[in-house]
Subunit: 203 residues, 2 copies
C-alpha cells in the first residue's frame, strides 16, 4: 500500500469517530464531509486510497468502512503505552478517556520525584524512572508518552529508544532527536496559541 | 505582508524559543536549523519572508530577530484568555507554565458543574458558565480555550463567538463550526496517538 499523507491519516481518524457513533447502516460522503468539516470530494479521495467501498447513490456501508479504517490505522490490535512524567499534564493524560476508547492503554507511569513515586494514579502506582529499562525489557511497549520538563525530555527519549519504543507522543516543549525508525509527534500547546496569536495579529 | 503558511508560523515559534534562550549576540541559520530540527535553507526561507536580517558569514543578530519574530507572531501585546471547562484537561492547562511565559494569561475559568463552581484554581475562582456573556461584555477576551466534553463544545463555542472571541483553542474531540472571521485550532490527543499507530502498522 502506498504511503498516506499525515493529513489524510488525521481525517480518517476523524471519520472513524463519526462512523462509530452513527446509527444508520450506510453513510454518504456528503454526510461524512459535513461531520468532518471537509468536502465530499476530499472524503471520496481519502477513501479511494483503500479501494472502492462506496456505492453510487447508496453511500458507504458503515460496518465495513469502520473495520477498514480501524485496520488501516492499526487500531485493531490495541497498544500498551508507558507514560514518563507524573506532573500536571501527565495527570490529565492518564485520565484522558479518549486514549482507552481508542485502544491505547497506559500500563505504567514513571517519574524521578521521590514525592510522586509510589502514589497511585488511576489504579497505577507511579514507578521510579530508574526502573524504565528493566520494565520495558520484561513488558515491551511500542508507544511512550513523554510529559517531562523540557530539560529532561531528550534524555528520557534516548532511554526509551534504546529500550525498543518505536513511537513517542511528546508534550515537552522541545524538538527531539530520534533515529529514522522511530516516530515522534510533539504536541506543544503554547505553539498552538501562538498560531492563533499570529492570525489575530494579521487579520 | 503576504500570508505566511501555518507550518512557517510554527517554525518561527520554535526558532523564537531558542532565540530567547541563546546567550550569543548572533546565531547562524545552521544553528537555528539544528535546534529546530530543520535545514539551513528552510530557516533562511522562513526568515526571508520578513526582509533581510542575516549577514552572510555573521548570522542573525539575536535581539533584532527575537523582536521581529515576536512582533510577527503578535506576541508583544499579551493576551487575556478565558478557559471553559474545569475538568482534568482544564486543570493541566491552567497550570501550564508555557502559556504565561509567552504572554497568554488565563484570566477566568468557567464550568457548569456546581461542585466545581466557587473552587479556587491557581488563584482564580471557577465561575458559573452562565456568567460567560456578561463577563466577556465587561472584560473582552480575544482568545478562549475550550476544554469541555465533546457534547457541549459547539454550544460553548457559539456563545464565545457571539461574545466577540476571535480565536479558540479546542481540546474537545470534535470539529467545531465557526464564522470565517474566527480561527479555531483543535488539539486532539487520541488523534495524535492514532497517527503514531498508523505509522507503527505501516512500517
Amino acid at each position: 500500500m502506498r504511503k498516506i499523507s499525515d493529513s489524510t491519516v488525521r481525517r480518517l481518524s476523524v471519520y472513524l469517530r463519526f462512523l462509530e457513533q452513527t446509527k444508520t447502516p450506510t453513510i454518504s460522503s456528503r454526510e461524512l464531509a459535513r461531520l468532518g468539516g471537509t468536502t465530499s470530494a476530499q472524503v471520496r479521495k481519502d477513501l479511494s486510497f483503500f479501494g472502492s467501498f462506496g456505492k453510487r447513490g447508496l453511500g458507504y456501508a458503515v460496518p465495513e468502512l469502520t473495520r477498514r479504517i480501524r485496520d488501516i490505522l492499526g487500531l485493531e490490535r490495541g497498544y500498551r503505552v508507558v507514560l514518563v512524567g507524573a506532573g500536571r499534564m501527565g495527570g490529565a493524560l492518564v485520565q484522558y478517556q479518549g486514549f482507552k476508547q481508542r485502544g491505547f492503554h497506559i500500563t505504567a507511569i514513571y517519574d524521578h520525584d521521590a514525592r510522586k513515586i509510589g502514589s497511585r494514579w488511576n489504579g497505577l502506582v507511579v514507578r521510579d524512572v530508574t526502573h524504565l529499562e528493566n520494565d520495558l525489557k520484561k513488558d515491551p511497549s511500542d508507544i511512550a508518552i513523554v510529559a517531562t520538563p523540557a530539560e529532561s525530555a531528550q534524555q528520557v527519549v534516548d532511554r526509551l529508544v534504546r529500550s525498543g519504543v518505536k513511537a513517542i507522543l511528546n508534550f515537552a516543549p522541545v524538538p527531539l532527536n530520534v533515529p529514522a525508525d522511530v516516530e515522534v509527534k510533539t504536541v506543544n500547546m503554547a505553539l498552538e496559541l501562538e498560531t492563533l496569536s499570529y492570525s489575530l495579529a494579521n487579520r
